[in-house]
Symmetry: C2
Amino acid sequence: MAAVEIRIELKKGVADPEGGNTKKTLESLGFLGVKSVRSVKVFEMELEMDPEAARVAADDMCRKLLANPVIQNYSITVR
Amino acid sequence: MAAVEIRIELKKGVADPEGGNTKKTLESLGFLGVKSVRSVKVFEMELEMDPEAARVAADDMCRKLLANPVIQNYSITVR
């Protein structure tokens, strides 16, 4: 059994409306000093395979379904 | 300047439709051995304050806006 964390974030320069709106809302609530907010998506998975196979499978999942390579980067952590 | 990561996840026992649907779609694409998928939301922030103040501010942000304490847990990492 492998515990896998897949972290998907927008590439630099790609607009992040969720992050931008969160920043604005925090400011409207009175929070000062918020220089930037970026939103990140994480999937935590349990895969019934050994860690090496899990890393290969997770990479395949990102390419086939989870990430959009035009605008997103992804990273995989296997424990 | 403090780099803050806020990680928001559903409490145990709370239904995770996004994770569940991702698992089903991965299986329909032929991925075997996917035991569970959980979705997690992360916000990365730069806050113009010292790390201690940043941790207090981030906790306040979670309570006032970012997390729903009924169904979500959050954790804060300051670098």
